[in-house]
C-alpha cells in the first residue's frame, strides 16, 4: 500500500509524536507514505470563514498534487479529513465552481480533475479489508487487558454523507481496530462528540467542559486510555487536562493516545519510540496494564 500523506499542520507542530508514530506504524505495517511537502494547510474550516473560495482553492490544489502523484491521499487528523472532504464535495458537485477553482490554480501549474483519488483518514485505511489483514499479520504485542475508549473527532463523522464510517452516529471502525490489536473497546456516549477545541480561544470554559464531560464519560465507562484520530482532540483532552480536572469535581484523569501510537505499540514499538513521554498526561500506567 502506497499513499500520499497529508500530514496537516499540528502533526508537524504541537503533536509531533503523532507524525513520529504514524511513520513507525507505516514502517511496521509495510505501508509507504509519500509526504505531500508542497500541500498547504487544509484551513481547518477557519480560512473558509474568511473566504470560502480561497479555502477550496488551496484544498483543490492539494488534491491536484495527489492526482499528479497518482496516489490516494491519507490524512492523520480528523479535522483535515473533514475539511478536505467538504472541499471535494463543493468542487465535485458543481462543474461551474470546479472551473472557477481550476482557473485560480492554473497559473501554478495544477489542475484538479476529480474522481481520480480517494481521500481517507489513516483509520479508514486500517479499517479496509486489506488494512485489517495487515494488522492481524503484524501484531507482535497484543494489547491484552487494555480497556480502550475511542474518541473519533467530530469532523470525520458529520455531515454523515461525507463520512467514511458506515454508521457515523454509532461508528465501530476504531473499535474494530482496537480488537485486532488485542485491546478491549469501551463504548460510551461521548465518543462521537466534539472535544471543544475549536472554541478554546473564544469560550474556554465551555471548551473545557465539553472535553471534561467526554473524559468523565470515558473514565466512568472503565477506560484505561482514550484513543483519538485527531491531534486537535489530543491537545484538548491531553494538554489541557490539568485545567479540565480543576474544573471538575469528579475525577477524569486518563491518558490520551493518538491512534497510530496504539497501533505501533501493538506492532512492538516502545512508548518512547512513539513520543508518548511527551504527553502532558503520563502514559506510564499503561505499561503496567500491558505487563500483566
Amino acid at each position: 500500500m502506497k499513499f500520499a500523506l497529508f500530514t496537516g499542520c499540528v502533526a508537524k507542530g504541537a503533536t509531533r509524536e503523532l507524525m513520529l508514530s504514524t511513520m513507525k506504524s507505516a514502517e511496521g505495517l509495510g505501508i509507504e507514505f509519500v509526504e505531500m511537502k508542497s500541500a498547504a494547510c487544509c484551513g481547518a474550516g477557519v480560512v473558509s470563514e474568511k473566504n470560502p473560495l480561497l479555502a477550496d482553492a488551496l484544498n483543490a490544489r492539494t488534491f491536484a498534487i495527489a492526482e499528479e502523484q497518482n496516489l490516494d491521499l491519507v490524512t492523520i487528523c480528523s479535522t483535515c479529513q473533514g475539511i478536505l472532504k467538504k472541499t471535494e464535495c463543493h468542487v465535485d458537485s458543481d462543474p461551474a465552481y470546479k472551473e472557477k477553482v481550476n482557473s485560480v490554480l492554473q497559473e501554478g501549474g495544477h489542475q484538479y480533475a476529480g474522481g481520480k483519488i480517494k481521500i481517507q483518514h489513516f483509520a479508514n485505511v486500517l479499517g479496509t479489508e486489506e488494512g485489517l489483514k495487515l494488522l492481524r499479520e503484524k501484531v507482535k504485542r497484543p494489547l491484552t487487558g487494555l480497556k480502550t475508549a475511542a474518541f473519533y473527532g467530530c469532523y470525520v463523522l458529520r455531515p454523515s454523507e461525507l463520512s467514511l464510517y458506515e454508521n457515523p452516529d454509532d461508528p465501530t471502525g476504531m473499535e474494530e481496530i482496537f480488537e485486532i490489536l488485542g485491546a478491549t473497546p469501551v463504548y460510551y456516549d461521548s465518543r462521537t462528540k466534539c472535544c471543544g477545541f475549536p472554541i478554546i480561544m473564544m469560550n474556554k470554559d465551555a471548551s473545557h467542559d465539553m472535553a471534561g464531560n467526554a473524559l468523565i464519560d470515558a473514565v466512568d465507562s472503565g477506560a484505561d486510555c482514550v484513543v483519538t484520530g485527531c491531534p486537535l482532540c489530543h491537545l484538548s483532552l491531553d494538554a489541557y487536562q490539568p485545567e479540565i480536572e480543576k474544573m471538575n469535581k469528579k475525577g477524569c484523569s486518563v491518558p490520551i493516545l493518538h491512534l497510530p501510537q496504539l497501533v505501533a505499540l501493538a506492532l512492538g514499538y516502545s512508548p518512547q519510540e512513539l513520543g508518548m513521554d511527551t504527553h502532558v498526561v503520563a502514559t506510564t500506567g499503561l505499561d503496567k496494564i500491558l505487563a500483566q
Partner: protein, 313 residues
Amino acid sequence: MATFRIKRYNPEKQPESYYEEFQLDIKPGMTLLDCMNEIKWTLDGSFTYRMSCRSAICGSCAVKANGHSLLACQRQGAHLVKDDETIVLEPLGNMKPIKDLAVDFKPFWDKVDKVSPYLQPDKKAPKEERKQSPEQFRLIDDSSTCIMCGACYSDCNVLEVDDNFLGPAALAKAQRFVQDSRDGKTLERVKYLSKPGGIWDCTHCGECVERCPKPAQPFHRIKEIMTVALDQGVTNNNGARHALSFAKLVKSSGSLNENIIPVETVGFFNIKGLFDLLPVGLRMLFKGKNPPILHKSIDDVEDVKRIYMELDE
C-alpha cells in the same frame, strides 16, 4: 413486534423520570409519529408529546430517537428499530421536560427573539413591494426553510455546557436577515452576533447540520454570518482575530504557525489573555511539545501566496 422504550416524566405524580416499555407491531408505512399515536390511542392515553401537521411542516413533533433528535413524522418507524428490536424515545435535549416528551421551548424562543427575527429596512417603503433578484433570494433561501422544530438546539454540543450560546436555530434565523438585501441593519446585527454567546462560540461539530430536517442547516448559515462579520470589519473579538490570523499565517508559510496564532487571537495588548496562555504554553514547553520556534514553510509556498493574491486576500 418492536419494543418502544420511552422516557416518561410526570412531576405531578413523581419527581424523577423513568423508562417504560411498550410493545407495538410496526405496520409497513407507519412513521414514528404513527407509532407514537398508536401507543397513545391504544396502550396509554397519558403518553404526552407534541404533534400537529404530520407532514414535516409544523416542526412540532421533534423528539430524540435512539439518542438523536429527529422529526417523528418524517421517519419510518421500522427504520429506527435497533438490532435488539427496540426504539428508545426521549424528550429533546438542552430543554427542560414538562411532561414525557414535551419540553419547555421558552429558552429557545427567547434566543430567537434576541436576534431580532424581522426585517429592519433603512429606507422608506417603496410604493410597490421591495423586490429581490433570484441571486439575492438564494442567499436566504436555505435559512428561510427552518421550521423551528428545535432538533438542532436539542443536540447542540455547545448548549450542553453553555446556556448563554444563542444556539444553531437562532443563528440560522439571524443569517436570514443578515444577508437579506432588503434589511438595513447588517452591521448592527453582526456586531451583536459577534458577542460572547454568538457565532464565534460555535464549535463546527456539525451536529446541527446532521439533525436539521430541512435545508436550513444551521452551521453553514453560521459560517456565512462569520464571513459577513469579517467583511464588515467587526473584528474586535477572539473569533474574528483567530480567523484573520489563521488566514494570514497560512498565506505566509502555507501552514499554520501554532506559536503565533494564540497570541494574535487574544491580541498583543490583552495582558490577561496572554497571561492565561502561559500555563499550557509552559507545560508544553516543559514536555517538549511546543511547536518549533523556527516555523518551516511548505515547498512551493509561492504558489499559495499567488492564490491569495489572485483572490485579493
